[in-house]
């Protein structure tokens, strides 16, 4: 179970690091200081290294400023829902965070947390558990971490959008291919006429065209997959650089490659046949006439 703010049970993420509190002190490491893990992005921005001392505060005024020793630097788990936000984060031991954020006016604040992660014995009970918690403890918001299956998942929506764009691209490509095939057939008008004059049947010519279409379509589809594979790295590198994340944006899986080939190959064959049909339906005299 993951509650609303994605906090982990043992270590909490704080985004209260403000400009004044980034690198702050670079005094020699003090072994008895509380320890903290900082995200790679924060370490880069604050020029922090393992063993450095850093001061964290609740707000820009420096309230409740506390010194910590940087025990490690971590790469935040890529989150597709938050990839546009810079991951300026740190993980503190829960008692340290509570000590920093506790309010003198509220004695209970030192024992408060904003979220709890719960692992159920049976993950299938997540919905029932969330409902039960909400009903029994007013003020608690519990929700399962699994993605919704009711079609409201934003990634399912994005997938539909990409599919629609892909379909439009395929329609455009088909028109392109048909135009090319028609031109190619026109180029071979005389050749086909002479072959027909030599006694080769229409059926054989059609088979030749079909075989040629299969070869061209297969080669085109394989080439397309190879281009996609080559572009995969570039696209990922660009977006990973742009958003400073390790999230993978494009992955050419075997399934997608097979889908592309399965769609492109028949389209290529059909385009070849349609283009050639304009020649085959004509009589021999028309074909050889200049």
């Amino acid at each position: 179970m993951l509650s609303s703010h994605r906090a982990r049970s043992a270590a909490f993420v704080t985004s209260l690091l403000l400009a004044a509190a980034f690198p702050l002190l670079s005094a020699p490491a003090v072994s008895d200081l509380p320890t903290v893990l900082v995200s790679r992005q924060l370490a880069e921005r604050g020029k922090l290294h393992v063993g450095d001392t850093a001061t964290f505060a609740n707000d820009a005024s420096g309230a409740n400023a506390t010194r910590f020793r940087v025990a490690g630097i971590y790469e935040p788990t890529p989150d597709p829902m938050r990839f546009t936000s810079p991951r300026i984060e740190a993980r503190l031991h829960l008692p340290d965070l509570q000590a920093m954020t506790a309010s003198r006016d509220d004695p209970a604040s030192g024992e408060s947390v904003r979220a709890l992660n719960i692992r159920l014995a049976d993950p299938g009970d997540a919905d029932a558990f969330a409902t039960a918690v909400g009903a029994r403890v007013p003020g608690i918001f519990a929700r399962p971490t699994t993605r919704a299956r009711d079609g409201s998942d934003p990634f399912v929506v994005l997938e539909r959008f990409h599919l629609a764009v892909a379909i439009v691209t395929v329609i455009g490509s088909t028109a392109f291919l048909l135009a090319l095939m028609v031109m190619r057939s026109e180029e071979r008008r005389e050749t086909v006429g002479i072959i027909r004059l030599l006694g080769v049947s229409q059926r054989f010519v059609l088979l030749v065209v079909l075989a040629e279409g299969v070869l061209i379509a297969a080669a085109g589809a394989v080439f397309g997959v190879l281009v996609a594979l080559a572009a995969e790295g570039g696209v990922n590198q660009f977006f990973q650089w742009r958003y400073d994340t390790t999230l993978v944006f494009v992955r050419v899986s075997a399934r997608i490659a097979l889908q592309s080939v399965a769609l492109a190959a028949p389209l290529g064959i059909v385009a070849g046949l349609v283009g050639s049909w304009t020649l085959l339906r004509r009589d021999i005299v028309t074909l050889v006439r200049r």
Binding site: G139, F141, V157, L158, V168, I171, G172, S173, L178, L180
Partner: protein
Amino acid sequence: MTAWGLAWRTLVHNPARACLAIGGVAVIGALLFDMLLLSRGLLVSFRDLLDTAGYDVRVVANEGSPIHRAPLDGAPALADAIRRLPGVERVALLRTGNAMAMTPGHENTAAGVTLIGSTESAMSGAWDIVKGEPLPATVAAGQPTPLIVSTKLAELLGVGPGSPLRLRVSLGGGASALPALDCRVAGVGTFQFEAEDFYTVATTMAGFAAAQGAPESEGDADLVLVASAPGVGPEAAARAIAALRPDVRVYSNAQVVEQFNARAFTYFRQISVVLSSMTLVFAFLLVATLLTMSVNQRLGEVAALRALGFPRRRIAANLLCESALLVGVGGAAALPLGGALAVVLDRILRGMPGLPERLHFFVFEPRTMVLHAALLAATGFLAALYPVWLAARLPIAATLRREIVS
């Protein structure tokens, strides 16, 4: 015959080829048009949505954001201080939460709603009353809490002005141990920020606090909406408010839009750039290949024209006109096609949960059409360069001899 006339005859001579080429350009042009619409659609739509609410400055707690808001400390005092600022015209306090709405005796048909508490009895722009009355300024003790319900919810539950309705605040989207609150529908309205898959109910701040089971929290709020005075402007008002309370975040509508543009909308902007570039490359390849093949098929014709005294410039102009006709007609056909496609793609993307119904991903702007035309024109020109070069450097005598021999 002019270059345009010759180009037209060349295309008409091969109608199937011309139609397919124009069809290809139209489909690719439609996709390009849609990607250009997408690149700024959310931004324009979101700005429009914010502006129609009638308030141009938003004040939220430091911990939150304009969307995910935390409670504001001392909201009533802050609102009073803002009201006293010279550059401020109107101030409204807002509070939002989730609740289940049901008609008495039909608890099994409860609907999840977004509950809004407001200090204003009417917020033209944010919600517009279509039936009944706005929220009353005061509610007598013992009277049911007045509500404005959205038209969709009114239709779902079969309620109208004067109908009783019960609210039970929910904190997890599910059942809650909090007692239900008896309310009365004062009016039915359209909520500008209502999502397609959500329902909205507005009430008074006292009504909101009562629904929360904490009447003493009537003064709490998570958002202060401010309308700046004419002539002062939202930026100046925002600066003045920020100076009042450094512990709050103040955004003008333009700043909210800017923030969303930099983060939330960036994905669609990037994908529109990627797909626009791809469609342009595709259109370039399409036109360049077709023209090149066309020139290759007509080498003898071109050589003959040159032999008759047609200058290179004329041949080049002919090919450029042919390219312009293909791209021009295809590009013009792309506009209605792209418009229809945009409706479909917009409907798909608006399936995302929680999006206001009025927010659109594809929004038409005149500048998009200009940009579309300019990009296609540049593509058509570039695509014609190679075939033009091919035709211009053609050796006349050798080509004619080859034609005769073949």
